[in-house]
C-alpha cells in the first residue's frame, strides 16, 4: 500500500470523555474511510481492546478514572496490545507530559486544537506501518513455505 493511498480500511479506537470531541472525530475519520469504535473513558478503552482488534488507538490523556497515560502503561504491559500504535490527542502542552508519552512509547503526540490534516497524515503513517507489518508476516510465511518445498 502506498502511503498516500486513501481511504484506508484501518480500524481505529477513539477514546475521549468529551462526547462532542468523539462525535467530531468519528465524523472526520468515517469520511476518510476508517472504521471507528468509540470509548468514553480509559476503562471503556481497555474493555474494547479486550473484545476487538484495532489498528490504531486515538487516545485523550485527561479522563476520569483510568487516564490516557494509565491506558498506555497497561497496553505496553500486554503482549497483545503493545504493538498497537497509540496517538495521544491532548490539551496538555507541557514538556513533562510529552516526556511521559515518549517514555511510554506512544507513536504520536498531538496537542489540541487538533488540525484535521495533521491528524490524517499521522493516522495514514501509522496505518502504513500496520500494513507493512502484515506484509512482513506474508513474507515470513512465504519463506517458511520455501523451506517446506
Amino acid at each position: 500500500m502506498s502511503q498516500n493511498e486513501s481511504p484506508t480500511s484501518a480500524r481505529v479506537l477513539i477514546v475521549d470523555d468529551d462526547e462532542n470531541t468523539l462525535e467530531i472525530l468519528r465524523r472526520w475519520l468515517a469520511k476518510e474511510g476508517y472504521t471507528t469504535v468509540s470509548a468514553a473513558d480509559g476503562q471503556q478503552c481497555l474493555d474494547a481492546l479486550a473484545k476487538e482488534e484495532f489498528d490504531i488507538v486515538l487516545l485523550d490523556v485527561m479522563m476520569p478514572g483510568v487516564d490516557g497515560m494509565q491506558v498506555c502503561e497497561r497496553m505496553r504491559a500486554n503482549p497483545e496490545w503493545r504493538t498497537i500504535p497509540v496517538i495521544l490527542l491532548t490539551a496538555k502542552d507541557d514538556m513533562e507530559t510529552r516526556t511521559r508519552g515518549m517514555a511510554l512509547g506512544v507513536s504520536e503526540y498531538l496537542t489540541k486544537p487538533i488540525n484535521k490534516q495533521e491528524l490524517f497524515s499521522r493516522l495514514r503513517a501509522q496505518a502504513h506501518t500496520r500494513e507493512l507489518d502484515r506484509r512482513m508476516d506474508r513474507t515470513a510465511a512465504a519463506i517458511a513455505e520455501m523451506g517446506d518445498d
Binding site: 472525530l25 488540525n115 484535521k116 507489518d133
Partner: protein
C-alpha cells in the same frame, strides 16, 4: 564482524523492526533474491549486510554497487566487467562486480535507476546465473546472491512502464520493507542513546548526555533523512558540545520549531494544487479558535489578541458558523 557493531542500529525496539530482523535472519538461510524497499537513510544496506552476515556466504565477499551513482554507460562494465579493447579506453580486461562477489553477495542499491537495456541484462543474469562481460563472446557462470534495494515505489515504476515487470517479479522473491523513522518514533530515544554512546566512544574524553526536553524535540521531529540524518546530527552534537550536555538551544532551528509547527502546520502545495482562499480561511479560523480558547470564549479579549475589532471578530465567527470547535479542520 562489522555488522555486529551496527546490529543495534537496525534493531530498534519497535515491533515492526523486530519482525523485519526475524525475516532477515530467516531469509539469510536461503539463497533467494531479496528486494529491500525503504526511504533514503532507513538502513537498507545494513539489512543487506545483516542478511549476508547470517548466510552461508558470510566468509565470502559482500560487494555493494550503487546503480544510481555510476553513469549509465559505465554501469554495465562495472557490473559485468569487460574484455580488452571492448570500448575506447579499455586497455586491459577487467572483472566486474558480479565476478568480484563470486561465492558471496552483491548488493544492487537504487535498482530503480537502472536503464531499460541494463534491466534486460540483469534479468538474464538472474535467470541463467551467468554474465557476459562487455565485448566478450562467451558467458561466465557466477554464483552470487543478489540483494537489491530501492527508495522508489517499484510497483508504481512498473505501472508507468519505467521498470520491467518480469525483472520486478524476479527481484521481488522476498520483499523486505523498511518503515521511515517517523513511523517507528518509539525507536528514536533508543537510537539517540546508541549514537551518543558510539560517538562518545570515538572521542575518548566525551561523556555527552542529552536533556529530556531536547530528547522530546528529537522524538517529535519527522526525520526526512531517517536514521542517517539522526546519526549525523548526534555526531555533530557530540563533537560541537562545549559542556557535554545537549540542550534544546543546541538543536538546529528546524527541529526546535517543529513542535510548534505541528500545531499550525506549514501549508503545503500538493500536486493536485490547493484552494488558496480556503487554506487562508482555515488558517484564520485556527488562530481565532486559539484566541477564543485562551480567553475562555471572551470575544472582546480574543479580538484584542488578534488585533481585530470585536465587531470584525463577531462577523468572522458568523461567517464561519457553528461554535468554536465546529471550525472546519480544527478540533479544540
Amino acid at each position: 564482524m562489522a555488522v555486529t557493531m551496527e546490529n543495534f542500529v537496525i534493531k530498534g525496539s519497535h515491533p515492526v523492526m523486530e519482525k523485519i530482523l526475524q525475516v532477515a535472519q530467516k531469509v539469510a538461510s536461503t539463497d533467494s533474491t531479496v528486494m529491500i524497499q525503504g526511504e533514503s537513510g532507513t538502513g537498507k544496506e545494513l539489512i543487506a549486510r545483516y542478511i549476508h552476515a547470517y548466510s552461508r556466504r558470510a566468509n565470502q565477499p559482500f560487494i555493494a554497487v550503487n546503480c544510481g551513482a555510476i553513469p549509465p554507460d559505465l554501469l554495465e562494465s562495472e557490473m559485468f566487467g569487460h574484455e580488452r579493447g571492448a570500448f575506447t579506453g579499455a586497455v586491459g580486461a577487467r572483472m566486474g562486480m558480479f565476478q568480484l562477489a563470486s561465492g558471496g553477495t552483491i548488493f544492487l542499491d537504487e535498482i530503480g535507476e537502472m536503464t531499460s537495456t541494463l534491466q534486460v541484462k540483469l534479468l538474464r543474469v538472474l535467470q541463467e546465473r551467468e554474465i557476459r562481460p562487455v565485448g566478450a563472446d562467451r558467458t561466465v557462470k557466477v554464483d552470487v546472491r543478489v540483494v537489491a534495494a530501492t527508495n522508489r515505489d517499484l510497483a508504481m515504476e512498473v505501472e508507468k512502464g519505467r521498470f520491467r515487470e518480469d525483472l520486478y517479479y524476479r527481484l521481488q522473491v522476498i520483499p523486505v520493507l523498511l518503515p521511515p523513522l517517523r513511523e517507528r518514533r518509539s525507536d528514536i530515544p533508543v537510537l539517540v542513546q546508541h549514537f551518543l554512546d558510539k560517538y562518545n566512544a570515538k572521542h575518548d574524553s566525551r561523556r555527552c548526555t542529552i536533556a529530556d526536553d531536547a530528547m522530546v524535540h528529537l522524538w517529535e521531529y519527522d526525520w526526512p533523512g531517517n536514521v542517517r540524518e539522526l546519526e549525523n546530527l548526534v555526531e555533530r552534537l557530540v563533537v560541537l558540545s562545549e559542556d557535554a550536555y545537549v540542550q534544546v538551544d543546541h538543536l538546529p532551528p528546524n527541529i526546535r520549531s517543529f513542535i510548534s509547527e505541528k500545531k499550525i502546520p506549514r501549508p503545503s502545495l500538493t500536486e493536485e494544487g490547493i484552494d488558496l482562499n480556503k487554506a487562508v480561511e482555515e488558517f484564520e479560523y485556527r488562530l481565532i479558535d486559539e484566541a477564543l480558547r485562551r480567553t475562555k470564549g471572551n470575544k472582546q479579549a480574543a479580538a484584542r489578541l488578534l488585533g481585530l475589532k470585536r465587531t470584525t471578530l463577531v462577523a468572522k465567527l458568523r461567517r464561519k458558523g457553528g461554535g468554536a470547535n465546529q471550525a472546519e479542520g480544527y478540533l479544540i
